[in-house]
Amino acid sequence: MLESIIKAYNEAIFDTDRERALQVIHAALEQGVSPEDVVFKIVVPAIEQMVTSISENFDANLAQHFMTAQIAAEVTEEMLARFKSAPESVGRIIIGTAEGDLHSLGKRIVMGCLKAQMIEAVDLGVNVPAERFVDEAVARDAQVIGISAMMVHTARGEGGCRAVRRLLRERGLEKRIMIVVGGAPYRFDPELYRVVGADAWAENGIAAGRVIAGLIGEVRR
């Protein structure tokens, strides 16, 4: 039964059809699928499936990323209220766009996916100064800082990731907090994340969940 539900949900996601995806989930609940299984056996695998299809074919796109994340967040929010017990948090990330950068879409996609993966995301919004990234990460005991930048000057500039790295070094926090970056400039130069001092980069918002979970694991090891 679960197999056919997963297939129907994935098809709705790929068609960017929110109504149909939500119908599939609600029908699954009526058929006795638990809220926990909805999240961990349908929604999260759908995100993984999207990551795989991005790497394998061309027909996975921004709209699908957006809708996958949007629906994942909506369904997870609804299911969490029905969980038998509160799920354990995998970890915590502070997320925002680099100083001077006002592009928020990528961040939203990342956050939608993280919610389903039980990674807490603290959203600092857009145009975030480096000090604030670090201060908030310390105050909230986050394992990762996520910096989104859609323009070359905000990705490479002195006020973005480079400044966050410098602050982490100066404050002796490099083993406690890792940095992940994402955004168009990193897609066009896959080595750029090293140049600006990040620990990792994600090619798109959907893939970011896996990368961030990996970094949290490294910090906690």
Binding site: F14, D15, T16, R18, F58, D59, N61, L62, A63, Q64, F66, M67, Q70, G100, L102, H103, S104, L105, R108, M151, V152, H153, T154, R156, G157, A184, P185, F188, D189, L192, V195
Partner: protein, 344 residues
């Protein structure tokens, strides 16, 4: 020696001149060229024209631009806050549409040419036309109906409205954006722009699924192009790939110039266009920031070897980041002139 316009015209006809046309899109570099801040630079259309002319002379490429910055279109529709940066393009800082009710209040100016935000662009165009009109193609940048809302409300909120918002609000916004698009395109043509870059990331299957493209993006592309005609129009999806839709766009609209993504396979794009239009192979200009001389030359050579055989090919750049060293711009252009020569 041929002029840029002669090279472009020859390429479009499938004829040869001294070399393939080479478009180098230097926009924000203009402020540096004149030694002033971007805010000062973009305040005066005469300065933008002066820098465009000076940079074209300096590097020898085949085009000049009337584009100030993309957010200019939002200014024409009511945006009053643009964020300037010394090292990057100006950006819309405050969106015109903050809530759906703002869509009702959005007003398309009756006469764009009378709008203060357009006046400096017209001044720039008049100078470019006077100085190089007919010799070097003058480019203008026009955002498509489907993409313009992203400048007015941000990409995140536009995606939200597009996919999960109320359809009547979406349609009302698109209708206003289309009305604006037609006026803007007409104004640029009247002012002397030759190359009209029709920018539409929603015309790419990197942005939307093919089915969505066919059902939603394509009808708006047809409506846009149907209203203004194909003369001078260049199909461009930002950095998003669009080889998969070229055949459909060509058949349904008749657009004759395709400015590919740096991530598109140039040879494949050219095969799909199959002599029915001009293929523009575009270099990954973010790579140009750090590449060595040899890497730059190899990449230029690779693109030109993929696209030049059989003619109807142009070599171009994206919107060149300010961080690219001048030496690398020269290396890229010299390689393009060398490998793109018909007299080798």
């Amino acid at each position: 020696m041929s002029t840029g316009m002669q090279r472009l015209t020859a390429a479009m006809k499938g004829e040869t001149s001294d070399r393939i046309p080479v478009f180098c899109n230097l926009i924000d570099q203009g402020a540096r060229e004149l030694g002033i801040s971007p805010r000062q630079y973009y305040a005066d259309g005469a300065q933008v024209a002066q820098a465009q002319l000076r940079m074209r002379e300096k590097y020898g490429h085949d085009n000049v631009w009337s584009l100030f910055y993309v957010g200019k279109e939002a200014e024409l529709l009511g945006c009053s806050k643009i964020r300037f940066h010394a090292q990057g393009p100006p950006n819309v800082e405050e969106f015109v549409i903050k809530g759906y009710d703002d869509i009702d209040r959005l007003r398309v100016p009756d006469d764009l040419t009378a709008h203060p935000a357009f006046r400096e662009e017209l001044k720039c165009l008049a100078i470019l036309k006077r100085e190089v009109g007919g010799d070097y193609p003058i480019c203008a940048y026009i955002t498509s109906t489907m993409t313009l809302p992203a400048l007015l409300m941000g990409m995140e909120k536009w995606m939200e409205l597009l996919f999960i918002g109320p359809a009547e609000r979406r349609d009302a916004l698109l209708a206003k954006c289309h009305a604006f698009f037609v006026k803007e395109m007409t104004a640029y043509r009247d002012a002397g722009a030759d190359v009209l870059v029709y920018s539409n990331p929603f015309g790419s299957t990197d942005t939307v699924p093919m089915r969505y493209f066919l059902e939603h993006s394509l009808p708006w592309i047809e409506k846009d192009i149907g209203a203004v005609g194909t003369a001078g129009i260049v199909y461009y999806c930002g950095t998003s790939r669009f080889n998969r839709v070229i055949d459909t766009v060509l058949e349904r609209t008749g657009i004759g110039v395709y400015y590919l993504s740096p991530l598109d396979d140039v040879a494949e794009g050219k095969r799909i266009i199959a002599g029915r239009g001009l293929t523009c192979g575009v270099i990954n200009d973010i790579g140009l920031i750090d590449w060595t001389r040899e890497q730059i030359r190899n990449e230029v050579r690779r693109l030109i070897e993929a696209g030049m055989p059989g003619g109807k090919f142009l070599f171009g750049t994206g919107v060149m980041p300010c961080q690219i060293p001048e030496e690398n711009i020269r290396t890229m252009l010299e390689a393009a002139y060398e490998f793109g020569s018909y007299r080798r």
